[in-house]
């Protein structure tokens, strides 16, 4: 297998672009040019991007639906934050360690759930992940360590918003690098081949079960990190932060961004984070818009009638373009 080359051109260009974007946002935050609400949302966008990317790996590339992503998110948030509350290390180190612990615990969850449901696929797998998310939430409610339904408070803050944003941003960049490189590697091609035709993939020697476990574990790991960022940013978490609606919201990001398109997922995650701001006053319609978006995206890419319409529209546009172009030449 080809080794992943971390110093490839694309990665370097990406890191450079990421630093430029960071410089702009950090300047805006530091000089208070950005409105306060936007500053807060910038941090929210960070963990949403991580969540969307981690689910994108499972839904967009492996082609299995996980409806329990909020469960991994919760596992990471609770384990990381409990560590953070009970530790005396310097806050920066504590945050990084908490992120690693949260990610690892969530990854263990992902490993356990995926290795127990290897025989399942499709609808059954989706239902099991949904059940798993609900089980996690139910047990968080009854375990004393997590504060139960009352929630877990007193999670330390990193200090200024800029600092929280900086740390979160670094994790976003790491997530993008890791997931992009997985997808671009031979592992990624194996994963997409499972999505496109599992039987054919198996017949050329791809170990479907192993890849399923790997993808779920990696996806859960990053969802866990996102949970730790959430905890250290709002300083208080409760089971309601991780309900079914959250899983759906992450799914909407992946579907809107285009399944199997990482850049799309990133853009969709940022757009959806800022959607409540954009739709101020129409917030009660937000979930309705999500629902319509899910249905419409699926119809647009699958309905024979709409596909036909799109092909015809494209042909017409091409014809029009040609007409205008030739007229110019005359």
């Amino acid at each position: 297998m080809k080794r992943i080359n971390l110093k490839s051109h694309r990665n370097l260009i990406f890191v450079a672009a990421a630093i430029v974007v960071y410089a702009f946002i950090a300047y805006g935050m530091n000089s208070n040019l950005l409105p306060r609400a936007t500053q807060t949302l910038a941090i929210k966008a960070c963990y949403n991007v991580i969540l969307a990317l981690s689910l994108s790996l499972i839904v967009g590339f492996l082609g299995e639906l996980s409806l329990g992503h909020a469960g991994f998110f919760a596992l990471g948030a609770y384990s990381g934050c409990i560590f953070s509350i009970n530790s005396n290390l310097p806050i920066e180190l504590r945050f990084v360690l908490a992120a690693l612990i949260g990610g690892t615990v969530a990854a263990i969850g992902g490993f356990l759930i995926s290795s127990s449901i290897l025989r399942l696929q499709g609808d059954y797998l989706a239902i099991v992940t949904l059940a798993f998310g609900e089980i996690i939430r139910s047990f968080i409610k009854i375990i004393p360590v997590t504060g139960g339904t009352a929630g877990l408070g007193g999670i330390p803050s990193l200090g200024s918003k800029l600092k929280t944003f900086t740390f979160s941003y670094v994790f976003v960049i790491l997530t993008i690098l890791v997931i992009r490189n997985i997808v671009a590697s031979s592992h990624g091609r194996a994963i997409t081949s499972i999505r496109d035709n599992a039987i054919a993939a198996e017949s050329i020697g791809i170990n479907i079960k192993l890849y399923k476990i790997k993808v779920f574990t990696v996806g859960a790991f990053f969802a866990g990190i996102a949970g730790v960022i959430l905890g250290h940013y709002i300083n208080f978490i409760e089971p309601a932060n991780f309900n079914y609606n959250v899983s759906i919201e992450i799914l909407v990001m992946v579907v809107l961004g285009g399944m199997g398109n990482l850049l799309g997922s990133i853009i969709a995650a940022v757009v959806i984070t800022f959607l409540p701001e954009i739709l101020r006053g129409f917030d009660q319609y937000r979930l309705l818009i999500y629902a319509l978006a899910l249905i419409f995206m699926m119809l647009a890419s699958n309905s024979p009638r709409i596909i036909n319409f799109r092909v015809k529209a494209r042909e017409k546009a091409a014809g029009l373009y040609k007409k205008l172009f030739t007229r110019k030449e005359e």
Binding site: I127, F132, E134
Partner: protein
């Protein structure tokens, strides 16, 4: 002992409603090969129509019940026509995401129209109590049991004996071959959805007669548990749905009344634990057929 029997009766009540809902799931899943995520939400919509017709408009009860079932069937027809039918040849993932979208849409429409508050329903089926082996059983319970059993037998005979029912069986076995035999596959699947949704309508009447309240999230959790029941009994099998529904109902009633109070918050979780254990050990369910995959 008295309390134990009461709990059992409660469990059978709950289980009968689950069984009715599971019948809808199992039919649609068995024939159209898709998990109709919106099935539970159609029950929620049905309960709201009961609220509107009986509590708000005070239409006579039998008429309101017929209207409720008709409305659910119509809703199933519209949803199928607009959202599922164009996706007949799409990947299962796309169909599943669409179904989740429809479920979410119904939930949020109800939320916008009726608000988050729980709506209460007047007691519209009022029958006295029965005495069964020294234990007093509410009339509603008896009505629920009888309805569920009648519908199950009716559905079973419909599928085994009528032409349309056998066409459904044929479609569930092999779509291509069914088409070659002159069965209109598309229409058969659409009819399956309408029947499934009408069953959801009946379930919504029983649900609202028993629990007398509804909120926008009533359907989703209820639906998932009923799906768990369908899976438990073996998807595609009508007696399986019945057994699965009763078992899930009994387990839920027993855990709710015998677990210590501090574990009660997790009682929903237990149904899911059972679902996962079942799927891990025997993915085809109790009475399900084994499916071999062909290339």
């Amino acid at each position: 002992m008295q309390q134990f029997i009461m709990t059992l009766i409660d469990g059978i009540n709950l289980g009968s409603v689950y069984a009715l809902v599971a019948l809808g799931y199992t039919m649609v899943y068995g024939i159209a090969k898709m998990l109709n995520f919106a099935h539970g939400d159609i029950i929620m919509v049905g309960a709201y129509t009961i609220v509107v017709f009986i509590t708000r408009l005070s239409i006579s009860v039998p008429l309101a019940m017929i209207l409720c079932v008709a409305f659910c069937a119509l809703l199933g027809f519209v949803v199928e026509k607009l959202a599922y039918k164009p996706l007949r040849h799409a990947t299962p993932l796309s169909v599943l995401i669409t179904a989740i979208g429809v479920s979410y849409l119904l939930q949020n429409l109800a939320l916008l129209i009726f608000g988050t508050n729980r709506q209460f329903i007047v007691r519209f089926i009022d029958v006295g109590n029965f005495n069964l082996f020294g234990v007093s059983v509410s009339g509603i319970s008896v009505i629920i049991w009888v309805t569920t059993i009648v519908i199950m037998i009716g559905l079973y005979t419909f599928i085994k004996k009528t032409k349309l029912g056998r066409a459904m069986l044929a479609v569930s076995e092999d779509k291509g071959a069914a088409q070659l035999m002159g069965i209109n596959v598309n229409r058969t699947i659409s009819i399956t959805f309408v029947i499934g949704s009408a069953l959801a309508g009946v379930a919504s009447i029983l649900y609202s007669a028993k629990y007398l309240n509804v909120d926008p999230y009533t359907g989703s959790l209820f639906g998932i548990k009923a799906f768990a029941a369908a899976v438990f009994g073996g998807i595609g099998s009508i007696p399986g749905a019945m057994i699965g529904g009763l078992l899930i109902g009994l387990i839920e009633a027993l855990t709710a009344s015998y677990l210590p109070f501090n574990l009660n918050a997790a009682s929903d979780g237990f149904a899911f634990v059972i679902l996962i254990i079942m799927l891990v050990l025997k993915p085809t369910g109790l009475l399900g057929k084994k499916n071999t995959e062909k290339v």
